[in-house]
């Protein structure tokens, strides 16, 4: 079931092209677009994505992560993915994360929530969860890509302007997750 790397790569290339061609009515979104392009480039070079770092993040227990409110989960995951160091990994063993994070990704995929899935994939990459266990999450994320190259199936999202903003945000979220996974894979290959 594992998605060939070439599928992921071509999805990121298409997303990058979409980001590059985007005409944004609100110039304040330019910064987000630039981050997206930077993440896509990092993915294609198999480099660790560089985002403005936060010093430290505390890893919740797996049980806390599962029972967390959705918005809190996304915020916490994003902080974890950007942190220089992670505190609180003990006493939960990695085997527990290997079981919980892929399952939680699938649970949010059932809710049709690519942003939450992408956030969890980034944390899974950070904690070294086996790539094969995340195949379903990655497949779900790739299925959210439009013909234009953006991520997020948002035909029901109302006004075009609002839809564009949401597409931009989702595309950056998904590309970030794919880049984080690719970098984690690259680090594994190097060892």
């Amino acid at each position: 079931m594992r998605r060939p790397a070439v599928d992921v790569r071509s999805a990121v290339v298409r997303a990058s092209e979409w980001l590059g061609s985007l005409e944004l009515p609100d110039k304040s979104d330019d910064a987000l677009r630039a981050i997206g392009l930077q993440l896509a480039a990092a993915h294609l070079r198999r480099e660790t994505p560089r985002l403005p770092p936060v010093a430290t993040a505390t890893l919740p227990s797996p049980a806390q992560l599962v029972t967390m409110e959705r918005d809190q989960l996304v915020a916490r995951c994003n902080r974890l993915a950007r942190s220089v160091s992670v505190e609180g990994r003990a006493p939960c063993d990695s085997k527990t994360w290997q079981a919980v994070l892929p399952a939680l990704c699938v649970s949010y995929a059932r809710d049709a929530d690519p942003v939450a899935v992408a956030s969890l994939v980034r944390v899974a990459a950070r904690l070294g969860v086996d790539r094969g266990l995340l195949d379903e999450a990655v497949a779900f994320l790739l299925e959210q890509q439009t013909d234009a190259g953006s991520f997020g199936l948002l035909a029901d999202s109302g006004q075009i302007e609002r839809r564009l903003q949401r597409s931009l945000r989702m595309t950056v979220e998904v590309v970030w997750a794919l880049a984080a996974l690719e970098a984690a894979d690259g680090q594994l290959d190097a060892t």
Binding site: P62, T67, D93, E136
Partner: protein, 315 residues
């Protein structure tokens, strides 16, 4: 974030908790036995029959030597068994099977449960002989997991050959699913029921280790999903499935949360779970099924004390 009950100091503590909630849930069921009657206004009622059948099924599952700590449950189950036997032998009920052969299997289902525990009724056996002679109930077209259920129940009742376990299993969603995000709630219940039947409610060890690991992995993933949504009914069925195949969960907290979800009166309600249709204002209707599953789960926790309930390191 939902409040999670304090972690137990050891698995024995959690087992004791389940002994207590299981006994309370069984007592709640006994207090509500009248609500399980298959008759409404002197006639067979479809909704009532479903409740009655579920009670008979749980009776048959639990009518066996009780493990330590489960005697309180067994003593209640024996009262349920008397209740089921009396209703099945009621003249209106007995005649209904012959009057409406199209409904013969659902009507005979409770009797088949009693039969698997050794009870015999010459009247119902004669009805069964006539129906079987004319090809019933094997003519029915059923969903794969329902076919599994029927073949198992007829075998346990001494009326059919041993189920073709592998063949029946291979047709189910559990055997065929490749992506869990494709499953709807009905599919998840198909999976839990397939595990119940494949393991003959814990009486048949699963020989194929690879298959067992795959099933455990699927159940564990769905445990995380149902626990996140506080869907106690599905969560308890999934935890029960893992117990029946002797596999642990990844975390201890779903067990704690499930035990804490039992109400003070002993009932366990599915209220609040998403994707579940409302059951109106009748607390019994929204609680009876989950409570019965809770009793089965408590009994399963108390059996096989050597098998770990969870694998994770405590917080």
């Amino acid at each position: 974030m939902r409040r999670i009950p304090p972690a137990p100091t050891e698995p024995g503590e959690l087992r004791q908790t389940f002994a207590n909630v299981g006994a309370r849930a069984a007592a709640w069921t006994t207090r509500n036995l009248a609500r399980f009657t298959p008759l409404a206004a002197g006639e067979i009622d479809g909704r009532q029959l479903k409740r009655f059948s579920e009670l008979a099924f749980v009776c048959a599952c639990l009518t066996r030597p009780a493990p330590d700590g489960s005697q309180a449950i067994l003593s209640e189950v024996l009262r349920w068994q008397d209740f089921v036997r009396e209703r099945v032998e009621d003249a209106t009920y007995r005649e209904a099977v012959r009057k409406t052969p199209a409904l013969a299997y659902p009507l005979l289902f409770p009797y088949l449960q009693l039969r698997s525990a050794g009870y015999r009724s010459s009247y119902h056996d004669a009805t069964l002989a006539r129906l079987t002679h004319h090809g019933h109930p094997l003519i029915e077209e059923l969903l794969p997991y329902r076919r599994f259920e029927r073949d198992l129940i007829l075998w346990n009742a001494g009326l059919a050959a041993e189920p073709a376990w592998d063949e029946l299993y291979d047709r189910t969603i559990l055997a065929r699913c490749r992506r869990l995000s494709f499953l709807d709630v009905g599919d998840m219940y198909s999976i839990t029921h397939t595990v119940f039947y494949l393991s003959d409610i814990g009486r048949r060890p699963l020989a194929d280790n690879l298959r067992t690991e795959r099933i455990a992995s699927i159940l564990n993933s769905l445990v995380i999903h149902s626990w996140r949504l506080a869907d106690w009914d599905l969560l308890c069925e999934l935890l029960l499935g893992l117990r029946l195949i002797g596999r642990p969960t990844a975390l201890c907290e779903p067990w704690q949360d499930a035990a804490a979800a039992f109400r003070d009166d002993g009932s366990l309600s599915s209220d609040g779970a998403p994707e579940r249709s409302g059951r109106g204002d009748d607390p019994f209707a929204s609680a009876y099924h989950t409570t019965l599953v809770g009793v089965l789960l408590a009994d399963a926790v108390l059996r096989g004390c050597d098998a770990p309930l969870w694998t994770s390191v405590r917080r």
